[in-house]
């Protein structure tokens, strides 16, 4: 509290007739004059106009005002305007308080007397608070001009390239041994049927060789601390046991390796060795040893790869490496996970060989896949003649835990059915759908072309699939358009599995203090206006980790995320809002409730000479005040919203005669 009696100026605005028509502005201004500490009280037609602002500034100088109250519109509207007015006149902007007598008084009440009484009350409450306000200084914090992109799918690849091309040092951390994500596994992309890897792999290569990009693959984020402009990130990379510079990709090691394993990149439809390269276009492009399955690492002995490598590239001594990265901005691009179709027991995936998923299909149809691009019945290798697609598997299905639509599966199915039609012109192709959703450029046209090419679309989701002795699949469904019950025996069924948040997302979200929406994906800062930002300043978002979307939308969002990260990183310093928590160490007993309840890790109980005391990490604190409302000692408060200030407002609202 200030030592000397504050000198308060009150400005009551007519806002033309917006306020003046309902509230008796003159009466409110006269009333304000009677409040303790008020030295000037004026009416003003438009306080926010140049004239209005000048009059405040003149009073600050001439009357030596130490506090200003403006009663006009919402502080969300003009709060900043008047704070600047004060600042320009040399008054600390935090010694200002605004009274909302337009949005929350004149515009919502009709009875003039009541509205005027309410306006007086609100002014009195503000005067009570403004007396207790303290000057606050905006702190500056230097910006570390590097960025981190977490996840190396198409979302991460494009945001990293945008940043790096803008001259920003960018780290890309990818969990898997290669970047590329799901797009690298796709054969072609809708609706234009471009070859997926042909358009992606040049960009992957750019990531590998860009002078501003440092790629860290096969690595996990261990820890993240700090705040916008200044994050510290600990990254642990797993050993690959292969020396990058020496590996010439001859593949002799893999030829000799005795261990054969399902190849993840090919959805387990092919085999790989314990020493392997994830796929030919992988970036970084060299072999690695799968430590969990390598005979030498798990049991000892073997070392056939090392003995046979002509280039001395195998190094069993390699250990995990831990690094600290200092960055100013983070882009989260960790994508999605495909719905696990074995969960949907009624469709028999995993039990019936001829039931496959849409991602399996992408590998079957790929020239690099198990059959070099020939789609066959897995049970006998025969070309399928009657094929069914089932939509919304694990999407729009409350029982399976996802009420949302995964957005891409309808188009992925149209794409896959179109490709099948090209390969098998006489095959019968059925799509069992709930609703066909085609909102995208060229999507509806692509879908209609599919219909014209004889793909049969049946509205109705089959309840169950049965299998006969020859592994043929029997589907019974109701055509909800005609009401007919349809029985169909098919050679092959493709499940259009939906997109789910990756399993490890929860952990990452906690490390970053990000919230997740009810669907499990990361929540954006605003559903419409800030889709590429998160609730944490300095942390941005792109791709399917925000919500399922196709490649064009992913790339567009990556541009947005990168632009926003760049806007932060091109500044030398950022201003930090001074409305933050503050601890009175004398009162604090170190109970830790504040620390426990702070969502931002912004307050920590630390050992001091006086015992355990809470300390605010000023730059991380967002000023929400949860700590202040939790503290049993009233030891922590939030500046500008202190207990004393709130109690003064409460008292002024209810006891007109007392102003403390």
């Amino acid at each position: 509290m200030s030592k000397s009696e504050p000198r308060i100026g009150v400005y009551v605005c007519h806002c033309g007739l917006n306020i003046g028509a309902v509230v008796d502005v003159a009466a409110v201004a006269q009333y304000a004059q009677t409040l303790p500490g008020v030295v000037v009280s004026r009416e003003s037609t438009y306080t926010c106009s140049d004239n209005g602002q000048r009059s405040i500034q003149e009073d600050i100088e001439n009357h030596n005002l130490s506090r200003v109250v403006v009663a006009s519109c919402s502080p969300r509207m003009h709060g900043d305007t008047f704070m600047k007015t004060c600042e320009t006149a040399g008054l600390n902007p935090y010694l200002f308080e605004m009274v909302n007598i337009r949005e929350q008084c004149s515009w919502v009440h009709t009875d003039k007397e009541q509205a005027t009484e309410k306006a007086k009350d609100l002014v009195r409450m503000a005067v009570a608070k403004v007396r207790l306000l303290e000057p606050l200084e905006k702190q500056k914090s230097a910006v570390n001009k590097a960025a981190l992109v977490i996840g190396g799918g198409v979302a991460g690849i494009f945001s990293a390239l945008y940043l790096a091309n803008a001259g920003i040092k960018t780290y890309v951390v990818e969990k898997k041994p290669s970047i590329g994500g799901h797009m690298a596994q796709l054969d072609k992309t809708f609706p234009t049927l471009d070859c997926s890897l042909c358009i992606l792999s040049p960009r992957m290569a750019d990531i590998g060789k860009h002078e501003n990009i440092e790629l860290i693959t096969y690595a996990d984020i261990e820890n993240i601390s700090g705040y916008a402009g200044n994050f510290q990130v600990t990254v642990k990379s797993n050993p690959r046991y292969v020396i990058k510079e020496n590996c010439r990709l001859c593949g002799v090691c893999a030829e000799k390796c005795p261990i054969s394993l399902p190849d993840e990149f090919n959805m387990g439809l092919k085999k790989r060795k314990a020493v392997y390269i994830p796929f030919p276009q992988a970036v970084p492009n060299y072999y690695l040893i799968d430590a969990g399955h390598c005979l030498h690492i798990t049991k000892g002995g073997c070392m056939l790869c090392q003995k046979n490598c002509p280039n001395d590239a195998i190094d069993f001594e390699e250990t995990e490496a831990v690094r600290e990265l200092n960055v100013g901005a983070i882009i989260v691009a960790t994508g999605f996970e495909l719905y696990d179709a074995t969960q949907k027991k009624e469709y028999g995936y995993g039990r019936y060989p001829n039931v496959i998923t849409n991602m399996d299909f992408e590998r079957w149809v790929s020239a690099d896949g198990p059959t070099h691009g020939k789609v066959v019945r897995p049970s006998d290798g025969a070309p399928p003649q009657r094929i069914g697609f089932i939509q919304c598997v694990g999407s729009r299905d409350e029982k399976e835990g996802a009420v949302y639509c995964s957005r891409i599966c309808c188009m992925a199915t149209v794409k896959q059915a179109t490709m099948l039609r090209e390969k098998y012109p006489s095959a019968e192709i059925y799509v069992y759908y709930t609703d066909m959703r085609t909102p995208g450029k060229g999507f509806e046209e692509f879908y209609q072309r599919g219909r014209e090419h004889g793909i049969v679309f049946i509205r109705g989701k089959p309840g169950e699939i049965e299998e006969d002795d020859n592994h043929n699949l029997l589907i019974v469904s109701e055509d909800t358009d005609s009401g007919l019950i349809l029985r169909n025996t098919l050679d092959l069924v493709v499940l259009a599995c939906g997109l789910r948040p990756p399993e490890a997302l929860e952990e990452l979200a906690q490390k970053l203090h990000l919230s997740r929406s009810p669907d499990g994906f990361i929540m954006e800062a605003h559903p419409k206006l800030r889709p590429a930002e998160t609730s944490i300043s300095g942390v941005f978002l792109t791709g399917c980790v925000q919500f399922p979307k196709d490649i064009p939308d992913t790339v567009a969002q990556s541009g947005g995320a990168a632009a926003m990260a760049a806007a932060l990183l091109t500044k030398d310093e950022i201003e930090l809002e001074p409305v933050r928590a503050a601890v009175d160490e004398e009162l604090c007993i170190g109970c830790g409730l504040c620390e426990e309840n702070c969502d931002y890790g912004a307050i920590e109980v630390k050992k001091t000479e006086e015992g355990m005391k809470a300390q605010v990490i000023e730059v991380a604190c967002q000023g929400c005040g949860v700590c202040a409302a939790s503290c049993p000692q009233k030891a922590v408060t939030v500046r500008h919203f202190t207990d004393g200030q709130l109690l003064a407002q409460v008292t002024a609202a209810l006891e007109p005669e007392v102003i403390v």
Partner: protein
């Protein structure tokens, strides 16, 4: 004249306060009884401040924040809910109708809903009539919101429910509720004793009569309070109790 209640509101800056602004921009009319105090987040609302409002003569207090999951500060509204739930328990101990403390989620896009909430809350409070609670009971309840044990329980609720007690066993919600009820009841009696003793020293029997609770209960709590050095005995006949300076 008909009764026109006095209502204090705490609205979070990002959702509810903005919802109130939208009601204004849309010129939706509503009852003029509410006096809004802007806070950054509903999680800032300290039950102590709420009880102060009742003590100073509010007939109703309305706390509003963002919808679950939408809090600008991640989980401030969840924290507000925990605190208001405990405050409801405390209010009913003091004989104040729980409904006088409203908790609502109103988004920045819900101008109409804001007006509806204010109207129905104002009507509810009008029907309940002026708050005529015993000042001494409100004072005890207010002290109780600042009580360490209650704040500790409320502050650890999420942890206890999700991560478990010292044995790593998650505490069931019902068990937690009972625990909180017990602590609130016990603490309420202790605060009442202290409030009364602050005015004048009394014997256990007199306390029991004043507070209308059985004397063995009073004695039990006096033992606790003595152990915590909150009260001490004054020799004589009968033995009287006095608040300790601390």
């Amino acid at each position: 004249m008909t009764f026109s209640p006095r209502i204090v509101g705490f609205m979070c800056n990002w959702c509810s306060y903005a919802g109130a602004d939208l009601a204004g921009i849309s010129r939706i009319k509503y009852a003029p009884n509410l006096r809004i105090i802007r806070v950054l987040c509903s999680g800032r609302v300290d039950p102590y401040v709420v009880l102060t409002a009742f003590q100073k003569g509010a007939d109703g207090v309305l706390v509003a924040g963002c919808h679950p999951g939408d809090c600008h500060y991640i989980s401030g509204n969840y924290q507000a809910e925990k605190k208001m739930k405990a405050t409801w328990k405390i209010l009913s101990k003091a004989g104040i109708d729980q409904e006088r403390l409203g908790l609502e989620w109103i988004s920045a896009a819900e101008g109409q809903r804001f007006a509806d909430v204010v109207n129905s809350f104002t009507q509810l409070i009008t029907e309940l009539g002026p708050l005529q609670a015993d000042p001494q009971k409100i004072a005890s309840a207010k002290e109780e919101t600042a009580d360490f044990r209650i704040r500790w329980l409320v502050g650890r609720e999420k942890d206890l429910l999700e991560e478990g007690n010292v044995f790593g066993e998650p505490v069931e919600e019902a068990v937690f509720e009972t625990l909180l009820d017990d602590v609130v009841s016990a603490q309420y009696i202790r605060n009442s004793i202290l409030t009364v003793l602050k005015e004048q020293s009394m014997s256990a029997k007199e306390l029991a009569e004043t507070l209308e609770i059985p004397s063995h209960v009073v004695v039990e709590h006096l033992i606790h309070l003595r152990r915590g050095q909150k009260v001490h005995m004054v020799e004589g006949h009968p033995i009287r109790y006095e608040v300790s300076a601390w």
